[in-house]
């Protein structure tokens, strides 16, 4: 038996940390490839702006102005970051368990729907109302995602497909709720036109915040999301539950074999991911500065983007924090693009290209390495073999 590394290093955790900082050749290549990818993504976006008569420099300036230039801009950025991070953290949990949930957009909506119902209809006052809203949103969206898990468990319905389809169901559900007076549609005042939206939440149903707008104001949702990210990171990395979750994700059969209740655990992971998305929905609804009404468009693609955040962060909850911030920056900065004459849709293009830039490199470097080996093989084929002495048979 060889001497193991921990025997030399009394602090095993420290040595693991060290190992993280010591990049292997693959990590180094990945970093370079990612950097190249990001540059390419930005160049492509600039080319798009230039080709359509805009100014890339002005666009960058606008993005900067709108997202991080001052306290006000930061406030908006953080307002977007919070739900993005919540969705992403949830996505990390399900992805860790090997379940790919892509229905977050719908789960955000379901969360917002139920939070709105509780906020507007439950005769609770004070901070309890907010707690009830958040809890209900998480439970409802968790159950919604859990449905996909049940469909898989009992009928073998592919989870990716069912979570995707359920998104469209959720959209119509919300549309129905805000178009139906006995459900959540806003009250008619006099004979005024009513819109497909709910009444605004009472003040007690809104999230608190720190700091005074227009200076930097940190919304309560962000705190919730950060706590969520840390808790999930610790739970996944350190607890028995997290151990089982990781095992399930890496090898479900072995996990089952080791006594893990795979269906329950996988279902729980999916439900938790839905619950986080639902929380994001409630946070969007109860934003300390916001519309505070349930509207069909309330999810604002936060669900899809949050999923992308998790992908870019490679399913690591703590890494998702800066990535969610980056996506928040792009969103809030996008609001400033209009001034440059560049359509804000540019942000969607940049986002998609950036995701590719982050997701592709590890795969690409792996393939290049494989190709190199292949190329060597191809060259070797041209070379005559060393003639071994004739085998007498």
């Amino acid at each position: 038996m060889s001497v193991s590394r921990e025997e030399l290093a009394p602090n095993a955790f420290g040595s693991r940390l060290l190992a993280l900082t010591r990049p292997g050749p693959a990590a180094w290549q990945n970093t370079v490839a990612t950097a190249v990818g990001v540059v390419v993504a930005l160049l492509l976006s600039s080319a798009l702006i230039a080709a359509t008569g805009g100014s890339p420099a002005a666009s960058v300036q606008a993005l900067f102005q709108g997202s991080v230039a001052d306290g006000t801009a930061w406030t908006t950025t953080l307002l977007y970051t919070a739900p993005l991070l919540l969705v992403a953290v949830g996505a990390c949990v399900s992805a860790r368990s090997g379940v790919f949930n892509i229905g977050q957009e719908g789960q955000v909506l379901v969360g917002a729907l139920f939070a709105a119902w509780v906020g507007l209809r439950l005769a609770v006052t004070g901070p309890l109302l907010l707690v009830a809203m958040l809890l209900t949103a998480a439970l409802a969206a968790g159950a919604w995602a859990g449905l996909s898990s049940l469909m898989y468990r009992f009928r073998g319905v592919n989870i990716v497909v069912s979570t995707l389809l359920m998104t469209f169901v959720a959209q119509q559900l919300v549309a129905f709720a805000v178009n139906t007076p006995w459900l959540l549609q806003e009250s008619r005042v006099g004979d005024a036109v009513v819109s497909p939206q709910s009444n605004p939440l009472p003040v007690s149903g809104r999230l608190g915040s720190f700091g005074e707008y227009p200076d930097l104001q940190v919304n309560g949702g962000l705190l919730l999301a950060l706590v969520g990210a840390v808790v999930v990171a610790v739970v996944v990395a350190r607890t028995r539950w997290g151990f089982r979750l990781t095992m399930l994700g890496l090898n479900p059969l072995a996990a089952k074999h080791a006594g893990v209740r795979v269906n329950a655990l996988g279902g729980a992971a999916l439900a938790i991911s839905g619950a986080f998305a639902g929380l994001a929905g409630a946070v969007l609804l109860a934003s300390p500065v916001g519309v505070n009404r349930l509207q069909p468009g309330i999810a604002m693609n936060i669900g899809w983007d949050g999923l992308l955040v998790a992908l870019v962060a490679r399913n690591r909850p703590l890494l998702a924090v800066p990535v969610a911030l980056l996506f928040g920056v792009l969103r809030s900065g996008g609001g400033f693009l209009a001034a440059t004459g560049v359509p804000p849709f540019l942000v969607d293009v940049v986002k998609a290209l950036l995701v590719l830039a982050f997701v592709a490199p590890p795969v690409v470097t792996a393939v290049i390495r494989r190709r190199r080996a292949g190329a060597r093989t191809a060259r070797a084929e041209r070379r005559p073999a060393p003639v071994a002495e004739e085998v007498a048979l």
Binding site: F100, L165, F168, F176, L308, F345, D348, V363
Partner: protein, 304 residues
């Protein structure tokens, strides 16, 4: 107005709403049989719709537009294929990103440009169009509709009868086994995605230069997802998949025509119907036994 005319109207309308779905569904069906689960079909349709109108507007020829639409579908299929079946990036991730990218890009471009409206010519088949009930719906259509008469049998033949299709099915079921038999698994999947791209592109382009004549932001409005629902609803059989498309198309036609006949239905329920039906189909008929076994799973030689 007679009942026959009403039926004829709804039928016509249903056919027009079905055609773009049917084109794309033929493509998606073939791709899924090869194991390539491809949610970028929405991107293919939308990109093609944009490209076809932009081209038609620039060249004045709707037919050229249609062709360019097909090319754009092919391009997206090519990109998807190379990202997920050469570089082995998760196919769902690629699909999501492409959908977001194309939606963003077309919305961007339509904001900075304006296009004239163009439509391909209508064909009206003499005599046949006078058949009661189905004559008008079936025989007075924009000409690309009749491409379906070729594409549906061709798709069926390709999958069920051609050697290429046999290999596609092998690749969709047991890629490892197909590999040792000498079939290039990822190449076949990329080819399947090209076919899917071309047809989804045709569907999207038809929607733009056949059906509507113009492009507006997000004009496919989720039709790509309906196509995926149709393939699932059809349990990976071509006939049933097309039946699904027709069902969804007709349901829409009914929804749009019924008010004119004096009836109304809950619109949310109707919008959501395709997705609910696909989910129900999966729940009721245990489709897991019909699903290509390697659907959505990447192939890498040497892994089991």
């Amino acid at each position: 107005m007679s009942a026959a005319d009403d039926i004829s109207t709804i039928l016509s309308s249903g056919i027009r709403l079905t055609v773009p779905l049917a084109f794309a569904a033929c493509g998606e069906y073939l791709a899924e049989r090869a194991g390539a689960m491809n949610i970028s079909v929405e991107a293919m349709m939308l990109g093609a719709a944009f490209g076809s109108i932009a081209t038609a507007s620039a060249t004045g020829s709707a037919t050229t537009g249609l062709l360019v639409g097909v090319l754009i579908g092919l391009l997206i299929g090519f990109v998807h294929g190379n990202l997920s079946h050469r570089l082995e990036i998760n196919t769902f991730v690629v699909g999501l990103v492409l959908n977001a990218l194309v939606l963003g890009l077309t919305s961007y471009l339509i904001t900075v440009s304006t296009f004239d409206s163009h439509q391909v010519a209508q064909v009206s088949v003499p005599w046949l169009r006078d058949i009661p009930l189905i004559g008008h719906p079936l025989f007075v259509e924009r000409w690309p509709v009749y491409l379906l008469l070729v594409i549906i049998p061709l798709t069926w033949w390709l999958v069920e009868r051609s050697r290429w299709g046999l290999e596609l099915r092998a690749v969709g079921e047991q890629p490892q086994a197909a590999d040792v038999t000498g079939i290039r698994v990822n190449l076949r999947r990329r080819q399947a995605l090209l076919w899917c791209g071309a047809l989804a592109g045709l569907g999207g382009a038809y929607l733009a230069v056949g059906e509507v004549g113009s492009f507006n932001q997000n004009m496919t409005a989720g039709r790509g997802y309906i196509v995926i629902a149709a393939v699932i609803f059809g349990a990976w059989r071509l006939g049933r998949t097309l039946l699904g498309c027709a069902l969804f198309g007709l349901a829409d036609a009914m929804r749009l025509a019924l008010p004119a006949l004096g009836l109304t239905l809950n619109s949310q329920l109707l919008v959501v119907a395709p997705y609910l039906l696909a989910l129900l189909a999966m729940l009721l008929f245990a489709t897991r036994h019909r699903e290509p076994r390697a659907l959505g799973q990447p192939f890498e030689r040497g892994s089991t």
